[in-house]
Amino acid sequence: MEFLPLNEAIARHVFDGACVALEGFTHLIPFAAGHEIIRQGRRDLHLVRMTPDLIYDQMIGMGCARTLTFSWGGNPGVGSLHRLRDAAERAWPCAIELDEHSHAGMAAAYCAGAAHLPFGVLRGYLDNDLDQVNAKIRRVDCPFTGETLAAVPAIHPDVTILHAQRADHEGNVAIHGIVGAQREAAMAAKALVVTVEEIVDRLPPAMNSVVLPHWIVDAVVHCPGGAYPSYAHGHYARDNAFYQSWDAISRDRERFLDWMREHVMETRDHAGFLARLQRKAA
């Protein structure tokens, strides 16, 4: 485990063609890390995330991704991810291969990855068309009852990137609030990078809470606001208005590219990104 600035952590752990999971279910989405991947111009990534959300819309629109493993690709409560749709429907800026699951299937695949099992089992994918468009959805028979169940292959990202509230000086990371599949995505990964709101002397006492211990963590990045416009429970709220405004920004290719240039490509880092947004809001 080492403490790194965000650009170094991304440079060290995210390479062209890597399988990368930026997890966090609505809460604690690692926007800052995603923006830095875009700034560094990574290509051919295999992106993994249950709910791609705006950050993957941006990464896909900027041409970072070759493959997307996901289970729900929308702007929650708003509508479509237009950049994802443009890639899937019209191969812009490049074609994207979809490895599409249900939430339950993807959760099982993360759990299998975390437990170092080659596959996960679920009572799922029953009588629908998902297994006809995804050869990674298969079947396994129970050796006791003979029942047939669904099987999905374990997910093992080259790197999982999370955002969390706090790390201590040893690199132990504490998460509270909605945790989604963060823990499983972390344990399933070959490397783990965590951006955090604060680095503290001592994590809050939390007998049975979600902690990622230091020897699972490869890099900790101090990055306040790193989940914005998603949120960090206890630090700042979700900017629902931003999510709503993204619909219009992302609908048009030129407007999307202009926005990304101004806010992500031409800002040095996440503090710059936040400052530019704040200046425009003022």
Partner: protein, 263 residues
């Protein structure tokens, strides 16, 4: 004559279907409004589970996303997402799954994946999310969607979520443990499956709607159930609750967020 909008009729009708202390897996949008309206009116003990892992949540305002902080703050507790699906849903601990969809066919199967061919989509929709397994495991499912010949279709472009399959008891012979879609709540009334054929039929109509309107908004020849109930207009109390909820929600969502940190 009620001044309620059709959205309000739908939401109130759906809310009335929930009972106190039932355990409900809530989809976002109209289902979320309906479930919370039930909680704020006749079913204060309803247990709302959102797939983000918030269990027994009692939000004061409606969440925009399925994982807003409001849901975690007002939850009895929060579990990791895989546990929601394995221990609660697959574990058989959910009474009602409340879903939306882009398309429903005459046997209650749902499409939320794609319009057109999967490989060359006309419109790429968000995808499955929790729906396939919610519909498989919840003891019963309610579906809410606005009716039109493009949403209530004879044939799905893609079957994301199994309802009654090809009908005629096919679901009962399948491996699904839950009972399937017991009601589709539209903006003209409620469709329920025929006991033998499983075909969705009109079984209840909003007082202010007509059978002609219903048929025009349905993509297959809509049959009437043996008995078609009339659904009474939202009461003053129901409307007041729902409108107050929406007003609180609008106010909360328009409140500017204090941006974190910055330069």
């Amino acid at each position: 004559m009620s001044d309620a909008t059709r959205d309000e009729w739908m939401t109130v009708t759906a809310a009335r279907m929930l009972w106190d202390r039932c355990v409900c897996f809530v989809g976002i949008g109209l289902p979320s409004a309906a479930c919370n309206l039930a909680r704020l009116t006749h079913a204060p003990g309803v247990v709302l589970i959102y797939e983000s892992g918030t269990i027994g949540t009692r939000p004061d305002v409606l969440p925009l996303s399925i994982g807003d902080g409001e849901l975690a703050e007002t939850a009895a507790f929060v579990v990791p997402l895989p546990e929601v699906f394995s221990h609660y849903l697959q574990g058989g601990r959910v009474d009602v799954g409340f879903l939306g969809a882009a398309q429903v066919d005459r046997h209650g199967n749902l499409n939320s994946t794609v319009i057109g061919r999967y490989e060359q989509p006309g419109t790429r929709l968000p995808g499955a999310g929790g729906a396939p397994e919610i519909a498989a495991h919840a003891k019963q499912t309610f579906v809410m969607l606005k009716a039109s010949p493009r949403s209530l279709v004879p044939q799905l472009d893609f079957r994301t979520t199994a309802g009654y399959l090809e009908g005629g008891g096919a679901r009962k012979r399948s491996r699904a443990s839950g009972g399937g879609p017991r009601a589709v709540i539209t903006d003209y009334g409620v469709l329920t499956p025929h006991p033998q054929t499983d075909e969705l039929q009109l079984s209840a109509l909003f007082e202010e709607a007509t059978i002609e309107e219903a048929r025009a908004a349905t993509g297959w020849p809509l049959a009437l159930a043996d008995k078609v109930d009339l659904i009474a207009a939202p009461t003053v109390a129901e409307l007041a609750s729902l409108r107050a909820l929406h007003a609180r929600t609008r106010e909360a969502h328009s409140r500017p967020i204090a941006m974190p940190g910055g330069a």
